[in-house]
Symmetry: C2
Subunit: 589 residues, 2 copies
C-alpha cells in the first residue's frame, strides 16, 4: 500500500495548478443548463397519457407507508426500552405531521432539529416531509452562535431540541432576539423513559405532548413535484457564508435505494445508528431502512462497548461509521468486545481504512465497505463493488482495492476525473490527477440562497467535488487530496493524503494530519500534526526520518507537532485550524 | 383455486355487477389528469438549479453502462457454449445500436423481435433503446396472421427473427405485401454455435454480420426525457384491436429495481431464463439482472431436465416461471432431477401455487414467491413480503399466505380494491370484492394508438386491472375472479372473444361461447360450447382443427360441447353456468 507513494510519476493535469485562484474567482462564462429536461417526446407515441395513475412524485414517504403495511408488526425502532413497530411509527409520524400543520407549518417551511440519534429525529425524517416542510438537521455539536447563524439563514419556524442541548438552543434564540429576529418555536425532546422535569416556558412544547395533539386521520401533504425540497443540510461552511445543501424528494428516494443496494441490505435488516442522522440524513439510511422494513437501533452516544453490546442484543446486520469509530472499535479493550452473532457489514466514508484497521476489523468479524461522497451527493456516491474473487487476495492487495473510491453507485449516473478548466477527462492511467466530478439524480438541487455557489459547483454540467483523484485503468477513482489541501513546495505538488498514509503506518502514531507551512523559499513545506498512541514515545526527527525512508524526500514533513487533532462533529479533521497554526509558526527557511 | 368460486361469503360491491356494460360504454365523464405533474415548486427555494449535473433521465441503459465497469470481467450471459462478460455485452450492444442507426432507425422507431430466449433478444433489450428506438418483443408462439397484424399496428421498421421462426415471419411479411404495406427488414438470428446455412434474400440481414458493421465508438442516443418510450408489449388483444402497452424509460428503471428487491437479489445473482423475455420484457429482469451485475443463463426451450442441469452447472440463484413450469418441475421424473447446490428462489405469477405444488417445490429445495401483475404494470406489481415468523406455520396456512397477491412492491405507489363506479375503496374485510386498481410509476404510459382505451384504463386516476379481489384486514389483496373472461393457459392469456370470433366464422356454427376448463397441467384450457345451425353436422375434432387453422394453437379449444347456450332474459350468455359445467368435466390432462 505504501510503496506506490514513492512513485514520482503522479502527474497533474496542467490546469490543476491554476485552479486555486480559479475556484475563488467569479464565474463568468457560466451557461445555465437549467432548461426543463423533459421535452414532451413521450407524446410522440399516440394514445399515451401522463396522469395520477402512472405518475407519482418519487418520495421516501412511500417507503414508510408501504412498510406500515408490509412489515406492520415488525420492530421499526429500538432505543433502550423504547420500541415501536412499523405501524406505530407510521401512526406517530402522521400525527406529528398533523401537529406541525396545527402549529402553522406551511408547505416549504423549514423545521430544524438539534439532537443526537434518538427516536424523535428518526420520526422527524418522515413527519416533516409529510407536513410538506423541509427538514434541517443541525449538527448536535454546534455552539449557540453557529446554531443562531443557521437558524437565521434557514429561517426555521420550529426547532426540535434534545434535552441535553436545550441551553445551546436557548443561547441561539437569545442571540436572534438581540438581533430583533423572530425566534423559532422550541419543541423539547425530553429524556426517554422518564417524565420530563425540564421547565418549559411559553414558547416551548414537549415532543410527546405535541405529537398527541395530531390526528392520525390527517391527510399528509405529499410533494407536488418530486423536485420539491425534502431537507436542508448545512456543510461545514464558514459562519459568514453558510452552505445549505438542498435535497429533493426525488434524489432522496433514489439515493435511499442506491444506498440500500450498496450496503447489500436484504429485506428486514437491523441497522445500528453509529453515524449521525444529522449527517446527510444519516447517509439517506433513515429512509433506506424504512424501504426495507428494517429495524433501527438508536444510540445517543457511540462507544465500543455500546456497539458490541447492541450488536449482540439486537442481532445487528449493518452499520455505518466515521473512520474514527473504526479506529475506536479496533483499539477497544478486549473486555468491551463481544463475539459477533454473524458477519456485520460496516460501511465507512471520509478516508480509506488503512490495512491494519481493515485486518483487525475482519478478525473481529466485520465486513468493511469503503464509500465516498459529499453532503452535495446525499452522502454515499461511490464505492468499489466487491468481486468474490478478490477475497483470496493478500491483505495488502485487498487494502489497495478497499482504499479506492471506486465507481458510482446505482443511483448516480457517473463519476469521473476531469480537468476543471478544460473539463476533459484525464487518462485512466492511475497517475494523472483530475478533479472528481459527479453527475446524476443524487446530486443536490443547489446551495440554499446562494445561486452563485450553485452555479460554480455545477459548472460545465458536472458537480465539482473539490477532491483530486486519479482514475485507474478499470475506471475506478482514487482520491489523492482535497484541492485546497494540496501542498505546493518548490513547484512540486504534495498530496497530503499520501504523507498521512505513511505516518499512519508508523507503529507509534495514533492519528496524523499534514498541512502546508508557508515558506519564504519553497512557498510551502509539509507540516505534520501527530497524536501518539498511549505509552509510545518518538521525537520529530525519528518521524521525519521514517517519512524520508518511505517517501520522496521533498514530500517528507519538515515540521512535526505533537497534539490532539481538532475534529468536526462528523469526525473530519479540521485542517483549516491546523493551517492557521502552521501559518502562525512562520517560515522555516 | 376453484373452490373459492363456490364460497357464498364473498360479497360484491353493488356496482361490480353493473360494470360489464360500463367498461364497454363510451367513457364520457373522463377528465384528463394529464397536466404536467411537475410544478416549479422546487424553484421556491432560492439558489437551486436543475441541470445536467443533477437531473439525468432515469433509464435502464445506465445499468449496463455501470456493470460494464463494475462487473467488467464477470460473466453476463451464458447460452450453451456462448459466453460473454459484461464489458463484452456492453460493447456488443453499443455496436448493435450503431448498426441499427446505420440501417436508418430513428428516434422513436419500433424494432420488433420474434424469438425465444437466445442471447440476441437479451442484447436487443439494451441495443434498441441505445439507438433511441422502441423494442417490441412479439410472442414467439404467434402465427403469421397475428404477427402481420402487430407489425402493421406497431409500424416496426425491422424485425429480428430466430431461425426457427423465419417461416412465420416471412408469412407475415407476405400478408403485408399483399396489403401493399411496406414490410420491415428481417434480421435473422441464426442458430448459435454453427455457421448459418439459411438462405438470405435481399431484404434480410444476419445478426452477427449486422452487429459487426456497428462502431463501438458510437455515441448512443439517450432518452431526451425519462418518459420516452422504451418498449411496446402487445397483450392478447383482438386482431381487430391490438393492445400495445407502452413502457417508459422511467418506469422500466423503477420496475427493474423494484423487481430486483422483490426477488431478494443481492449483488451478482445467477438468473435462469425460464420466463420468456418477450413477456413484459422478462418481467423487467432483462434490465434488473444487469443492474446487479448478475449472470443470465439463456434457454431456448424449458424442460425440467434443462432446468435442473442448468441450476447445477451454473449455480443458479434465481428464476421466474409461469405456473405450468412449476407444475413441470414438480411432476418431473426423478431421473431428470438433480440436487440443488443451494436454495433457489423462484417467483411465479399468473395463479397462486397450490399447496401440494408449494410443498413439493420446498422439498426439492426451492423458495417460492408468488407475484401478481399485468402487462400494464411492467409485469410484477404486487407480492406478499414474507415475514420470517411465517416459516414455522403449517403448510396449509403458508399456502393461504402464498396464495394472496399481497401488496405493492417498492416501485409501485399503491394497490387497492375499489368499486369501479364510485371509486371508493372496499372494506378490508377479506369478503367484499372490488376491482384491483393500481397507481404508480410502474404503470404503463398507455395503449399505443388507442387513447380511448388508455383513458378508460386510467379512469379516476387509477389503473383498472379488470381483476376482482378482496382486501384482507392487513391490506393484502387476494384475486377472486377476472372481470373479463380471460383464460390463462400455460401462462398465456387467451381472450375468449377472439376464439369465439373464429368459431362464429365457421359455416356450421350458430352460436358459441368459450370458457376456461380447469387443467392440472395448463391451469386452464379453452372449452367451447357450441350450438350448430340446423341441418349441419360437424364433430368436435373438425371444429378444433378449424380453430387451429385460424388461431395460434394454444388458443384453440381443447374441448367442444354441443348444446344450447344458457342466456339471461336480455339475451346475454350466462358464462358462469358454462364455467361450472366446464369445471365439472375435470382436468383434461
Amino acid at each position: 500500500m505504501i510503496n506506490y507513494f514513492k512513485s514520482s510519476c503522479i502527474r497533474l493535469v496542467p490546469s490543476i495548478n491554476r485552479l486555486h485562484s480559479h475556484v475563488t474567482q467569479n464565474f463568468r462564462e457560466f451557461s445555465r443548463f437549467c432548461g426543463d429536461q423533459e421535452p414532451e417526446s413521450w407524446k410522440s407515441m399516440e394514445g399515451l397519457i401522463r396522469c395520477q395513475a402512472n405518475n407519482v412524485p418519487l418520495s421516501p414517504i412511500s417507503f414508510l407507508e408501504r412498510s406500515a403495511m408490509a412489515y406492520m408488526n415488525r420492530t421499526s425502532l429500538v432505543y433502550g426500552s423504547v420500541k415501536y413497530t412499523w405501524s406505530q411509527t407510521h401512526e406517530r409520524c402522521v400525527k406529528l405531521a398533523s401537529a406541525l400543520t396545527q402549529l402553522g407549518i406551511a408547505r416549504g417551511d423549514v423545521v430544524a432539529t438539534l439532537s443526537p440519534n434518538v427516536p424523535a429525529i428518526y420520526e422527524l425524517h418522515f413527519a416533516v416531509p409529510m407536513a410538506g416542510a423541509v427538514l434541517c438537521t443541525l449538527n448536535s455539536r454546534y455552539d449557540s452562535t453557529m446554531v443562531s447563524v443557521l437558524l437565521r439563514h434557514s429561517e426555521a419556524k420550529i426547532i426540535f431540541v434534545d434535552y441535553e442541548l436545550l441551553e445551546i438552543a436557548r443561547g441561539a434564540l437569545d442571540i436572534l432576539a438581540n438581533e430583533d429576529i423572530k425566534p423559532p418555536m422550541i419543541v423539547l425532546i425530553p429524556k426517554y423513559d422518564c417524565s420530563s422535569s425540564t421547565s418549559l416556558n411559553l414558547n416551548t412544547y414537549e415532543y410527546e405532548n405535541l405529537l398527541e395533539t395530531g390526528q392520525y386521520g390527517f391527510e399528509i401533504r405529499r410533494p407536488k413535484s418530486e423536485w420539491d425540497p425534502i431537507s436542508l443540510n448545512y456543510t461545514s461552511g464558514t459562519t459568514s457564508r453558510p452552505k445549505g445543501v438542498v435535497y429533493s424528494h426525488r434524489g432522496a428516494y433514489l439515493n435511499s435505494l442506491a444506498t440500500v443496494f450498496l450496503h447489500g441490505m436484504g429485506s428486514m435488516p437491523t441497522f445500528l445508528w453509529t453515524v449521525p442522522m444529522f449527517h446527510c440524513n444519516g447517509w439517506c439510511l433513515t429512509w433506506g431502512v424504512a424501504a426495507q422494513g428494517g429495524t433501527n437501533i438508536c444510540l445517543r452516544k457511540v462507544s465500543p462497548k455500546g456497539i458490541f453490546d447492541n450488536i449482540a442484543r439486537h442481532n445487528v446486520t449493518h452499520m455505518a461509521v466515521a473512520p474514527t469509530v473504526l479506529n475506536m472499535i479496533v483499539h477497544s479493550s478486549v473486555g468491551d468486545q463481544k463475539p459477533l452473532p454473524h458477519k456485520v457489514e460496516v460501511s465507512t466514508g471520509g478516508s480509506p481504512p488503512p490495512p491494519q484497521i481493515l485486518q483487525k476489523m475482519e478478525e473481529l468479524g466485520f465486513g468493511v465497505t469503503h464509500l465516498y461522497g459529499l453532503t452535495e451527493t446525499y452522502g454515499p456516491g461511490t464505492y468499489t463493488p466487491w468481486i468474490p474473487e478478490w477475497d483470496s487476495l493478500p491483505l495488502e492487495d485487498r487494502s489497495k482495492l478497499h482504499a479506492r473510491q471506486g465507481l458510482q453507485h446505482l443511483g448516480l449516473e457517473k463519476v469521473d476525473c476531469r480537468d476543471p478548466v478544460s473539463m476533459k477527462s484525464v487518462p485512466a492511467d492511475g497517475k494523472t490527477m483530475g478533479e472528481i466530478m459527479l453527475r446524476g439524480n443524487t446530486v443536490m438541487s443547489g446551495y440554499f440562497k446562494d445561486l452563485k455557489a450553485t452555479e460554480e459547483a455545477f459548472k460545465g454540467g458536472w458537480f465539482h467535488s473539490g477532491d483530486l483523484a486519479v482514475k485507474h485503468p478499470d475506471g475506478c477513482i482514487e482520491v489523492k487530496d482535497r484541492l485546497k489541501d494540496i501542498i505546493i513546495s518548490g513547484g512540486e505538488n504534495i498530496c497530503t493524503v499520501e504523507v498521512e498514509t505513511v505516518l499512519y503506518s508508523h507503529p507509534a502514531i495514533y492519528e496524523a494530519a499534514v498541512v502546508g507551512r508557508p515558506d519564504d523559499h519553497w512557498g510551502q513545506t509539509p507540516c505534520a500534526f501527530v497524536k501518539l498512541k498511549e505509552g509510545f514515545h518518538v521525537d520529530a526527527q525519528e518521524i521525519i526520518k521514517f517519512c524520508r525512508d518511505n517517501l520522496p524526500h521533498y514530500m517528507a514533513p519538515r515540521t512535526v507537532i505533537f497534539e490532539d487533532l481538532p475534529r468536526t462533529a462528523t469526525g473530519k479533521i479540521q485542517k483549516f485550524i491546523l493551517r492557521e497554526k502552521a501559518a502562525a509558526l512562520g517560515s522555516l527557511t
